[in-house]
């Protein structure tokens, strides 16, 4: 199969998967808003949970896969791994953006403040910056082989940074707890809420897969355009 034809089929598959996932997202919206009980103490704002947590899961998934693909690339030097890592990073930025917007919007009514430097939100911010740095580096390096190697280095280093950020922020926080207005207790989730959460997580995962596939296909197609004889 020539490169452009392969790219086209990958892109179609990705677009189809994404379309299904977006339809699923619409269904999740209906489910969460219409068919899931309202939490008595937190009110309607608690429903942001059904978007924020799956987005966090997808962002973390995207990030881990960038790290793993980067490590594998330096070992195997397969350009497909580099293409995948780049796609995963870009999609990861999108999910991180969802996290970083829904997080404060959720925090304000529930915790009384738009932002707190707790371990989770801070890690979210770091993931975002690491993704952005990764993509900025890719944009700045012209030679494809060099770009792949450099990105892989950043991917690996970034993956290893995360435990240190988590640990140091945790240690920092236990020394400087900021007062919180209304801290939601962590009760066991009633079954309907758990169901909605799990379905949403599934939808977000499928969306991740679809978007990464499209992005990967686009990268392949754009490469085929630039080097038509490389097919």
């Amino acid at each position: 199969m020539t490169l452009p034809v392969a790219a086209r089929s990958i892109v179609s598959r990705g677009l189809a998967t994404s379309a299904v996932a977006l339809a699923g997202l619409a269904a999740v919206y209906v489910l969460a808003l219409g068919f899931t009980p309202v939490e008595a103490r937190q009110g309607l704002a608690q429903k942001i949970f059904y978007l924020h947590v799956p987005a966090a899961w997808s962002a973390l998934l995207a990030f881990s896969l960038v790290g793993i693909a980067s490590a594998l690339y330096l070992w195997l030097l397969d350009p497909r791994l580099d293409r995948f890592a780049a796609a995963s990073a870009e999609v990861g930025v999108a999910f991180s953006a969802v996290m970083l917007t829904t997080g404060p919007i959720w925090a304000k009514p529930i915790w009384g403040t738009w932002w707190t430097w707790d371990a989770r939100l801070t890690l979210t911010l770091f993931l975002f910056f690491l993704f952005v740095g990764y993509l900025a580096l890719r944009a700045a390096v012209q030679d494809p082989a060099e770009r792949a190697r450099f990105s892989a280095v950043v991917g690996i280093l970034g993956m290893l940074l995360v435990p240190f950020v988590h640990l140091s922020v945790y240690l920092f926080r236990t020394l400087h707890p900021t007062p919180v207005v209304l801290k939601p207790s962590a009760p066991s989730l009633p079954p309907e809420m758990l169901r909605t959460l799990l379905i949403s997580t599934l939808v977000f995962t499928v969306l991740y897969i679809g978007l990464v596939t499209v992005r990967y296909g686009i990268a392949l197609a754009e490469e085929a355009r630039e080097a038509p004889d490389a097919a």
């Binding site: 452009p4 790219a7 086209r8 892109v11 990705g14 677009l15 994404s18 977006l22 997202l25 919206y29 808003l33 309202v38 939490e39 008595a40 103490r41 937190q42 009110g43 309607l44 704002a45 429903k47 942001i48 978007l51 924020h52 987005a55 999609v91 999108a94 953006a97 969802v98 917007t101 829904t102 919007i105 959720w106 304000k108 009514p109 969306l207 978007l211 499209v214 992005r215 296909g217 686009i218 197609a221 754009e222 355009r225």
Partner: protein, 38 residues
């Protein structure tokens, strides 16, 4: 009586849809340019 914070919920749901659908649409347009037109 649960607090009246539905506005936040709406804001979050709208923003999420804008980001995800927006990104998907941007990818669709880019895909058509990269693959289509022949």
């Amino acid at each position: 009586m649960p607090p009246d914070n539905g506005g936040y919920m709406i804001a979050a749901y709208v923003v999420t849809a804008v980001i995800l659908v927006g990104y998907a649409l941007a990818m669709w347009r880019r895909a058509r340019r990269a693959v289509g037109s022949d």
